[in-house]
Subunit: 257 residues, 4 copies
């Protein structure tokens, strides 16, 4: 599980409750000391990796949020982002959309050097999320990144960004198996997982299916959503004759070329 | 006619009533003795070929069946699958969809060796149904199969499987005319038959049109559905200037390339 | 104007009333003497060309006609097809669709030799209508045809036949300017005419627009429909910078390749 | 801002009120003296460039205008086109669509020589609007044009004209950076601006968004429409990692090829 830095549950509590490894998603803050403290806290909490989102120099203009006047419900806040010296501040309550609420924690000047800097802060592997180009994939290798996530932020950042499944093959080819390549965006069925792996992903991430499960049926709903994906993926493997993940090769997607 | 092993009519009765050759469709059962006995029974009944379905290591998750709580109507069962030593058992009545009802008769471990084994049981030619890749088509030749059916199980097994008409040319090219290549899936009009033959099929199979005819008009409906397909195919041949099946060549589909 | 052989007005009357040349469309009848007599009559009437339809070895199954129980209204018949020795017979009144009404006048055995035979009957140039392949276009030259019409019979003969505008370039290339290439099917706007000429047509034929004009506004409606097409075509020429028909070249359709 | 010659506000007043440079769009009139006088007036008014529309030898048949019986509202006229010697004439009030109202001011005989002639009348740079082909782009260079606009007149002139964004790359390649290439048509979002620049445009023009803003909210609406486009474009630059306009390169549109 990758815990969002916007989570409204303390990272320490999540790691304690988790039955598997927890990774932590973060942004590099304008205030680098903020980020340094957050990384230390996360590492101390027992997270196993840092996932740095790199497609968010600014917050995308999410028109649904704007139209719906999105704001965090009363009593919820990005609790992991409350600086220790401002423990009374409730963050993300402005009612003006995610963008305005969280702009303070983004830094448009983040560059590859900052990725190196982040790695220098921690023993945890740093994975970057938001790579959609083969040149960026190659640079990830140059800068010692331990994994990448092919992601367009669920299509909510850059208007008309290409689908991740379309850019995956070129990115995977550029990486050449040297580090894991994950994919998110558009994974709705087990066969989507199979296709992503066939086209070069080591694994996929899902967001909305879990939230839909949560909305529809609370904890049971989440469990069911994940079970459905897993069952469908098992079935897709069986029906395509793959006994192992390794057997899920690219020719599955275009078998006769 | 190819009689499904899930038929609710005894194979012996069907062969007796038939005016043409009857083939028998089957799966290889986890219990190989069950399969051996079924093959012997089918051969004794006078069937002319065995059609082994090979795209069903597990039953696909057919959501319509699940939503509709599909179950066989009372009084109907897969009568040809009732083992002789369990003659009182009514199979397929669980009400939990085809998948759960018939899982017992599938074997996910079936491999090319089992195809050889099946051939060894019988003098009947063995045709395999569910080939959509040119490499599998070539293996069919290696393992002595007498014919293949390009089929995606009517689109009900593997989610987002390619259309059979799209994969047919590569499969037919791989076979190179050494054994017959049949096609099913999506055949709704006489011109679909013409196109399939033009792209390399020896013949096509139809399922739903016959069932729709049955639902709409009982026996007369089936006869009409088949007559319509045949008339339309005759017309399509005439209008494309084909006096014989042999004259239905691939250039019909893209005449100016 | 090309007068259909199914016209309900005598060819002699049409030619007399016409202000421009009249061509006559015909089929080769099973009874060749019938055709010989028709050709003689048409030539005597003053027609300027024969247009032999070659895509109709059988009548297409036109489901709209079947569903609508199409039949000629009382008092109308294919008057030019009434053999002189059967002047009292009213043809095409069966109420069972065009297909059944007119099957008697088609001959599925018509071949290139019959085209030569037809040419031998008359001094009129013979144009064939229904060519959609480059090989047939080349044969047209071999058999002395004076022009061809790229036509799929308005899409009413062969189910899923390609659009004529798609096959036109290959056909035109095969003809190489040796004889005129006309196109019909899908011409609804002046810019469609421009495109057809750009892709190799010498001219286009229209059917439905004229009939729609007739249905909507009688003679005035037909005049308006034709005027609209002509005005739109004039405008399309002006807007694409073409001062002459000759200037309408293929690069108009894909100017930057 | 480019002021249309059909504007109902005097060019002198617009230039006075403007906070940035004003360009003037014009046609070459059948009466060349009319055009000569207009150019002199425009130059005297302080406009910074002339934008000659070259895709309008005739007015396109704009069926919406025809259906809506478009006419200028009472009291409005193309005031900049009122010849000085006919100051009482109100132009464009005929109620018969833009086409009939303004036909008098177009000249279908305009050719490249007239573009040279126009340039000779003025010290202002002459930009031509309506170039969609690479051969015309090259000729623009030959005839000393100072800039071109890839435009299909908002799709209102030539029926089924290609989208400007599709023809832009070939046109830009033909120009090779020697003069600016602008684009209009279909620019609705900031990311459309980014794509146009990525594919070779120096800048874009927008028409409808401004008018929609005007209709929806008067002056404030126009300001908002322009602000939205600018904000979205800024965001699109940030999200694609472009710190300067120069950094917006073609690979943004197909990053993995």
């Amino acid at each position: 599980m990758v815990l969002s830095s916007l989570s409204n549950t303390l990272v320490e509590d999540v790691v304690k409750a988790a039955t598997g490894p927890v990774w932590f998603q973060l942004y590099i803050n304008k205030d680098r000391e903020f980020t340094r403290a957050l990384v230390a806290r996360v590492e101390a909490a027992g997270c196993k990796a840092l996932m740095l989102t790199v497609d968010t120099p600014e917050w995308g203009r999410r028109e649904r949020d704007v139209r719906n006047c999105f704001h965090l419900p009363e009593g919820l806040c990005g609790i992991n982002l409350v600086p220790s010296n401002q423990s009374g501040v409730v963050i993300g309550q402005s009612g003006a959309g995610m963008g305005q609420a969280f702009t303070w924690m983004l830094d448009a000047s983040v560059s590859w050097k900052d990725v190196e800097w982040l790695s220098s802060l921690t023993k945890l592997p740093v994975v970057i999320k938001g790579v959609c180009r083969k040149d960026d994939a190659k640079k990830s290798l140059d800068y010692g990144v331990k994994g990448i996530v092919v992601s367009n932020h669920g299509g909510r950042q850059m208007d008309t960004a290409p689908a991740t499944i379309e850019v995956l093959p070129a990115v995977a080819d550029a990486v050449g198996g040297k580090i894991p390549v994950l994919l998110d965006g558009g994974v709705r069925r087990g066969v989507d997982v199979l296709k992503a792996i066939a086209l070069g992903a080591s694994a996929v991430q899902v967001g909305r299916p879990v939230l839909w499960g949560l909305a529809a049926g609370s904890q049971k709903g989440v469990e069911l959503a994940l079970k459905m994906l897993r069952d469908e993926f098992d079935l897709a493997m069986a029906l395509s004759g793959c006994q192992t993940i390794k057997a899920i090769t690219r020719d599955l997607v275009s078998p006769n070329q």
